[in-house]
């Protein structure tokens, strides 16, 4: 649960610990607090889990910090893009943080997550560091993909994060392949294959779902429904926008994706289900504040009132803040301090990433192939481009 706080930066801040110590053990405890989710779950061919979620004050504080970090990272990426330090495509996740943080709370590192191109925050959740993320975004050598992937290709093998894919929908068959491998090696873990409401109309999704259901693969398909497929609203692209029902014979669950506790509950439920009965679809009802990517202002197909309305009523970080304040876990000032701290961490990581070197030109040819068979003839991964006969 506290993985982000440990990995986020080299400078390990101890202010929260000091605060907890000052308040006594009761506040930073893991003693259970039961909270009701904002909305009930809706199930398709399945009994939805209960609305009461068990959490603890420590967990809530972790949620707050993690989401604040992700929000800060995405906003910083926005400025970096406008300063032309990040080029190409940059798809930002702010507004949707609850989905990835809630998911992480329900699973472990052996479970796999695979997603599309809105992957910065999920990368952090899986154990990626801010430095790796920013360095990759700026195309530096110390990036998670050595600068060769970019915004849409973040991966973290040790953390069970399989990317980071640019082509819409292509990650779902890959996700079913991950689930297949998990079933093959019988290691009691599941795969979360995430996609958006736009990708939900891809044929390969249904093909993959058919196969997952046929062979009872432990695959959980998570539709992050932010209601817009780039510039097209969901009602204009899909005849049936009830994405959780689209599995037909595969059960589905609709979840309020802005409520981190609801997401946690749903993912825990889905994991238990997938290990026993095969695939399940989770539809996370969420929202993105930015446009589809940095080149999209995000206001031509929706009104600013809509965006600010969601921000006021459903913002995931505000919800957790209210919970923390209501349950007296921390004061307003402490939370503000956490946010300041997080901002500082992000700024430091950016500064460090800006200093890190660009990849060497020879790196153009590395990692195209994996060497390994032992017999090498003239190959494509050589640095020499012409052959010289002996």
């Amino acid at each position: 649960m506290a993985q982000l706080t440990h990995r986020a930066s080299a400078l390990h801040k101890s202010i929260p610990a000091v605060l907890f110590a000052a308040r006594g053990l009761a506040t930073a405890s893991t003693s259970p607090i039961t909270v009701e989710t904002s909305l009930p779950f809706t199930g398709h061919k399945i009994d939805p889990p209960s609305r009461s979620v068990e959490t603890s004050s420590q967990e809530l504080l972790t949620f707050f910090r993690d989401m604040a970090l992700m929000r800060r990272m995405e906003i910083a990426a926005d400025s970096l893009y406008k300063a032309k330090l990040i080029r190409g495509f940059c798809h930002l996740y702010d507004g949707q943080e609850a989905v990835c943080v809630g998911m992480e709370a329900a699973i472990n590192k052996k479970d796999c997550i695979i997603t599309a191109y809105r992957d910065h925050c999920i990368f952090l959740g899986r154990g990626g560091t801010l430095l790796e993320a920013f360095a990759e975004l700026m195309g530096r050598k110390s990036g998670c993909s050595k600068g060769k992937g970019g915004s849409m290709h973040f991966y973290k093998k040790e953390g069970g994060f399989y990317g980071g894919h640019g082509i819409v929908g292509a990650q779902v068959p890959l996700g079913c392949g991950l689930a297949f491998a998990q079933k093959y090696s019988k290691d009691e873990s599941v795969t979360f294959a995430m996609y958006g409401d736009g990708a939900a109309n891809q044929g390969q999704l249904f093909e993959a779902l058919n196969m997952a259901a046929l062979w009872d693969l432990p695959a959980i398909l998570v539709c992050e429904n932010n209601h817009y497929g780039m510039g097209t609203a969901e009602w204009r692209a899909a005849k049936s926008p009830a994405y959780y029902k689209r599995g037909d014979y595969v059960p589905g669950l609709k979840v309020d994706g802005m409520d981190v506790l609801a997401v946690k509950q749903a993912c825990k439920f889905a994991k238990e289900h997938a290990l026993k009965n095969g695939p399940i679809i989770l539809e996370m009802d969420t929202y993105r504040y930015h446009g589809h990517s940095m080149s999209d202002p995000g206001s031509t197909y929706r009104t600013r009132d809509e965006i600010s309305g969601v921000r006021q009523e459903r913002d995931p970080i505000e919800r957790v803040r209210k919970l923390i304040l209501t349950h007296d876990i921390a004061t307003e000032k402490e939370l503000k301090d956490t946010e300041k701290e997080v901002r500082k961490e992000v700024d430091e990581a950016i500064a460090q990433a800006k200093e890190s070197p660009m990849p060497d030109p020879s790196e153009l040819f590395t990692n195209v192939y994996v060497k390994g068979l032992g017999t090498e003839s003239f190959g494509a991964d050589r640095k020499e481009l012409r052959t010289v006969l002996p």
Partner: protein
């Protein structure tokens, strides 16, 4: 039968056919005429192939006894051997690798209970179970994607396309995910997948089932492509492809599955990047792969009787090219003829021509001649289908013209 031969560019082909002795084909005897379709599409009558061979005539050219039987030409290896057909050789290689490494699994349409549409996976499902030899629904895009996802975690899947043409549906997965994931993840993930299946022009199978897709896949960075042509190299390449940590596309040919050969009993693995010297010679380097190897060898018999000494190389590795072997050969013979079944436009031959021109231009005495299939969808009618691919007589004529 008077064959109307139209000269000039853009002329339509006249329907003549060639008589050739190929024990496997059962076409009736036809009148012997020869029509040369040059690789720039123009026709010329082959009826009066002149004999100005000049100094290239070699009085010592003797037909290699090894090449008498069209079934195989392998370097002779000591030790016990057993005889089998090409699809059995593929199965043997597959089975040995599945036995050796529990991560190896097969997925494809009808590979399990049915045994594979070309019997390559026959019996494997009974032995290894339904999960390891997986019958997939007809969803190429997703099961190829599934194979790639499984490969990311460390499994070594072999994805069988029932016909290479069907893999066009999976092109996105093969190009974007299979080829590129190792690079875009900065080396974190490797994709040790083998994608295999039969392709090529068969017996009147129609246009969509007679495709040569090597040309489509060749520019995908990160993958390796190999084409097998004999039971010996089929088994060796299958094993090498499975053991390789790179994604490998193994091209088989529909008409070669029933080739018979004696292969060694002991285990062997061939190199994925090496070409095979089929017949050493000194007048012209003939580069070929897959089924055209047999047409070339047949033409070689004729050429040898006419006094030429062609050097035949089965390039086997379509990506990357084995420029070492090829280069040494070009240095020796100074003439190159490429004979392939791939399409003329943008095919393997076109790439190979460019590659040889770039690297070995100084060694060439004449422009490279490339004989490929015509840029047409493969017709159903038998005679038309024959003219789509390169025939031995065209090879003979091309060599003679090249070596003038």
């Amino acid at each position: 039968m008077a064959a109307t031969i139209l000269h000039g560019v853009g002329a339509t082909t006249a329907l003549s056919s060639i008589n050739y002795n190929n024990s496997r084909r059962s076409l009736p005897e036809r009148k012997r005429t020869s029509l040369v379709i040059q690789c720039d599409g123009s026709l010329s009558s082959g009826l009066n192939i002149s004999n100005n061979r000049g100094a290239k005539l070699s009085t010592n050219a003797v037909a290699q006894t090894k090449q008498e039987n069209v079934t195989a030409s392998t370097t002779s290896k000591p030790g016990l051997r057993h005889e089998l057909l090409l699809f059995e050789a593929l199965r043997e290689g597959l089975e040995e690798e599945m036995e050796r490494d529990p991560h190896v699994c097969v997925m494809g349409e009808d590979v399990g209970h049915y045994g594979g549409s070309y019997k390559v996976t026959k019996g494997l499902a009974d032995k290894y179970g339904d999960l390891r030899v997986l019958d997939t629904p007809i969803a190429e895009n997703s099961f190829t994607g599934m194979g790639i996802g499984a490969a990311m975690t460390g499994l070594r899947p072999i994805v069988e396309g029932m016909n290479m043409g069907f893999l066009l549906l999976a092109f996105n997965q093969i190009s974007n995910n299979c080829g590129m994931l190792h690079y875009t993840s900065g080396g974190q993930f490797k994709i040790p997948i083998v994608i295999r299946g039969p392709g090529g022009v068969g017996r009147q199978l129609g246009a969509e089932h007679s495709q040569r897709l090597e040309s489509y896949f060749q520019s995908i960075p990160g993958i390796q492509m190999v084409a097998c042509s004999t039971p010996y190299n089929a088994k060796g390449l299958m094993k090498a492809a499975i053991r390789s940590d790179n994604p490998v596309i193994l091209f088989e040919h529909v008409l070669l599955y029933n080739l018979k050969e004696r292969i060694p009993d002991e285990e062997y693995v061939l190199s994925l990047e090496e070409a095979e010297m089929v017949r050493p010679g000194k007048h012209v380097t003939v580069l070929t792969y897959s089924r055209m190897r047999y047409h070339v060898m047949q033409a070689a018999k004729t050429l040898v009787n006419k006094g030429y000494d062609p050097e035949v190389i089965d390039i086997r590795s379509l990506k990357p090219f084995d420029l070492h072997t090829i280069g040494n050969s070009v240095k020796k013979t100074h003439h190159v003829l490429i004979v392939e079944e791939c399409m003329r436009t943008g095919g393997i031959g076109a790439s190979l021509t460019a590659s040889i021109n770039e690297h070995f231009h100084d060694y060439l005495d004449a422009p490279i001649v490339c004989l490929s299939s015509q840029d047409v969808p493969t017709p159903y009618a038998g005679a038309l289908e024959e003219w789509t691919v390169v025939q031995p007589a065209q090879i003979v004529a091309a060599v003679e013209q090249l070596c003038q």
